[in-house]
Symmetry: C2
Subunit: 527 residues, 2 copies
């Protein structure tokens, strides 16, 4: 049942008088659910509980934390159809997508549980004593990753499950040993409350301390800002816009004690289509890209917003097919009227820039909040001199850049900001022939793709979701995949520490059976 | 020979008319060397060269970069006595220290070379394709750490070798594949120039691109600020004051494209002396701590500036012995009149705080710039209410806090900011008995030490040198030990990438013989 209240730890709480509804974009009307915005007092209470819970939670073994994560997965599954109904109502996304995203979210939670049970991710590093070393004896030092404290997680509009309440930020922080306070996304606070109830149930069932998880409602910016500035919050996870993420990032850096903000923000995910790809299968790629641009109403972080090629009849053919194919596709409902409004605004703004041609524009009538797709094309020279064209339009929109030659293509790349992904369509010889172009692309992306589409972000250890600014605020970390847990820990060295009091990960006997670095060598042996 | 010029890549350059001398603190007079401050034009030229060099240098194998680092070590050794003479003249530190620090610096360079030759530090992570997976095939993804670009390194006043021109920041950045521009420390620009000449020679001898290293002189803040704000600089390493480091950190965060700043700043390195340590060997510890406080005229980042115990006759005895022992020690010369002036100022400021008693104060006449040691004591309650007493006084100065009981000791710890190190003196049972105190200490330090002194920072994989703010700006990384290279890289995923064009670290055949994570398992096997 959706109560509209906040979870301050396990307590439902509604102290504030500011309320808001979520919105059903398909019905184009408010939902019946009324949410109580968290008050300053409730934020403080959640932070205090998180701080206290941390003292207990951080001491738990990986195995114990894993039972919690697995219980969360089970409890989310147990929510059944009402969860899917809340999701589709609050997002306008279809049931299939809801089911898929739920599976991904549950799978993600279990993947972190597996990481914890295996345990080597804490990077245990041991240098044993050398009492006879000259000129000075060497003392025993052992290092491992330990959690940093309570984390504020901002739910994302475009992934009510996978990047929100129990999404990758929450799962990775809980795995790391950090309590989480979610600032629920105002577009899907009902979905968020249901998920929160599952997390709270799982916490109680597996003996986790009260305060290991809280969920705060808010329709504006204040709750989030207060969380980021709260002295008991030690890190922030965010997925959203460049403006929002950068503002939180700068705010956190200006704190008396700065804290890390991992904001995964905008990206236009450039795609470079090389001559062989145009010659051999330009039409196939055009079809695939029409689908990729339209996926989820273009509301994916890795939506291909920019396709770059060298002028040729092949490129002309690709553009024509892309236009034809994308116009055939049925437009779909966006998450919220505000997102739809911004989409329309961005689309219009870019369409009137000098030198742009319309390749495709869906113009039939549509229901409210449905995003009509659009594709533009522009010459490389016009693209180069107009930074407006380098901006993300969040939705089913893309620009094809027609470069005069490889050198202009290189210049286009050099002008681009940091990106989550970059894609090369071509053949293996072209990877070598256009080595400088490939290198320039690689230098500004977190993930580089050969012959594929950027949409679809696999949850696995080798995934990098995050790129140079402004794709994300810290390109050294990922928000997807089990490495995401590394954002919420810091290394601590134990020098000459009594064997019995060492954390298990650092004990001579290697009781957890970890892969460790001992005296410079990777090993899973005892000492 | 010391020319006083800047190294813009391999070119000696002196375009500016602003000049300064370095200072000989023992003679209390300027050295004969005149240094030309780098101009805006020279900074740009160094950044341009570094940017261009990066395109080449980043492609070099670990083995090739290792030859460069080893050549740097050799060329520094080959500088011989004139280097030691410049060091002692510009720092006032004794020859023994100069020799020891040179050994450490060379050893550090070679340790990074060893890391590169072994190669596994790039964290190669591979998830192979599963074309038959349901409901969706899984695509091949492979991830590794790649360098981020040119790095600005700020030389530290207190380690002319080990934390300056060819120190840990430079060695780790070059190891990571990043060109380095050093902003040489104005107190030892001559030493810096000699070291730079060795690096340039090594670069030429091993075929490194021009611009892989530059060295800029500056007596003020502008050159450093211009470097940090330069669009071609992608990261910053700094060791110095909280004010200086925090200013650079905030500046870098406010750039259009923020860049990481790893500033290792102040720390008072709290030491907790538990009852058993007082009973069993209070006098021994007092003697050892007298020595640790005085080491290098108290100019170490890990100097023990705060010793905390519970009121007892044992603690009184410890304080008395510490006072007696430290007064016996010969004071030594500080690095520079400004550092000496700041020391005297800080010492005076803290000595007049309410409730402080003088435990020891060296009062005999000393030569100019020599730091007279001082130790204060204060009750826990006075310490708690006076944050001035929590500040670092850079020099041979320490405060002993007498707490009423364990609970007050805990409160004192809870008041402290982040620290590089924390030390527990006691026995193994006390680690358990005072578990909350140990835990509180561990929560605010990068390295926790049992029965030892914090001075002496071992260069090894398990070392963590860096702690929660303000000990450093990013507690997730270390500035000492081979893990320091992780500061200058970011993960990049290669999706569905042609086998032949993959970096060697990610190839099926594992030609470098790395320890990798393949499909979730640590292995050094081929695929």
């Amino acid at each position: 049942m959706i109560t509209g209240k906040n979870y301050i730890g396990k307590e439902l709480s509604a102290k504030g008088s500011d309320t808001y509804h979520t919105f059903d974009p398909k019905q184009n009307s408010d939902t019946e659910w009324v949410f109580h915005q968290a008050t300053k007092e409730e934020i403080d209470a959640a932070a205090d509980k998180a701080h206290d819970a941390f003292q207990v939670y951080k001491m738990f073994s990986g195995a114990k934390k894993a039972t919690f994560l697995e219980a969360i997965a089970d409890e989310i599954e147990a929510l059944g159809d009402p969860l899917i109904q809340a999701y589709t109502k609050e997002s306008g996304l279809p049931e299939g997508r809801a089911n898929g995203e739920r599976g991904r979210t549950i799978g993600q939670m279990r993947a972190f549980a597996t990481l914890l049970k295996e345990g080597s991710w804490v990077e245990a590093t041991i240098d044993t004593a050398q009492p006879d070393r000259e000129p000075m004896p060497k003392i025993d030092i052992r290092k491992m990753l330990l959690p940093i404290g309570p984390i504020a997680v901002f739910g994302a509009s475009n992934f009510p499950f996978a990047f929100s309440t129990a999404g990758g930020d929450t799962a990775s922080a809980l795995a790391a040993g950090c309590p989480v306070i979610v600032k629920s996304h105002p577009m899907h606070s009902g979905t968020g409350e249901l998920i929160s109830s599952a997390i709270i149930k799982a916490a109680e069932r597996t003996g986790m301390p009260d305060g290991v998880f809280s969920n705060l409602n808010s329709s504006g910016n204040e709750v989030g800002q207060q969380l980021v500035m709260h002295s008991k919050i030690k890190g922030v996870g965010f997925t959203g816009s460049i403006n929002g993420g950068t503002a939180l990032y700068r705010m956190a850096n200006d704190r008396k004690e700065p804290i890390p903000v991992f904001a995964e923000m905008g990206s236009i995910n450039p795609v470079i289509i090389l001559p062989s790809a145009l010659a051999a299968k330009g039409d196939d790629w055009a079809k695939q890209y029409a689908g990729s641009i339209m996926l989820g109403a273009g509301q994916f972080c890795t939506n291909p917003g920019l396709i770059i090629g060298i002028k040729s009849t092949g490129l002309d053919g690709f553009i024509a097919t892309l236009g034809k194919e994308i116009e055939k596709l049925e437009p779909s409902c966006m998450l919220h009227p505000n997102i739809h409004k911004n989409y329309e605004k961005g689309k219009k703004e870019l369409s009137v820039q000098g030198g742009t041609d319309t390749v495709a524009a869906y113009e039939s009538n549509v229901a409210p909040n449905v995003a009509q797709q659009k594709v533009l094309s522009v010459n490389g020279s016009n693209f180069l001199k107009n930074p407006k064209l380098h901006q993300e339009v969040f939705g089913p929109f893309s620009i094809v850049v027609r470069c005069a030659d490889a050198s202009e293509l290189q210049q286009v790349l050099d002008k681009l900001e940091g990106q989550l992904t970059g894609t090369i369509l071509g053949n293996e010889e072209e990877i070598k022939k256009y080595a400088k172009i490939v290198d320039a692309l690689q230098g500004r992306v977190g993930r580089i793709i050969f012959n594929g589409v950027p949409t679809g972000v696999e949850v696995c250890p080798s995934m990098q979701h995050g790129g140079p600014f402004p794709a994300s605020t810290d390109s050294r970390f990922t928000s997807v995949g089990t490495s995401a847990a590394k954002r919420w820990v810091r290394p601590v060295s134990f020098q000459n520490w009594p064997a019995e009091s060492l954390p298990d990960a650092l004990k001579d006997e290697n009781p957890l059976g970890l892969s460790r670095i001992v005296n410079g060598k990777h090993t899973d042996a005892k000492i």
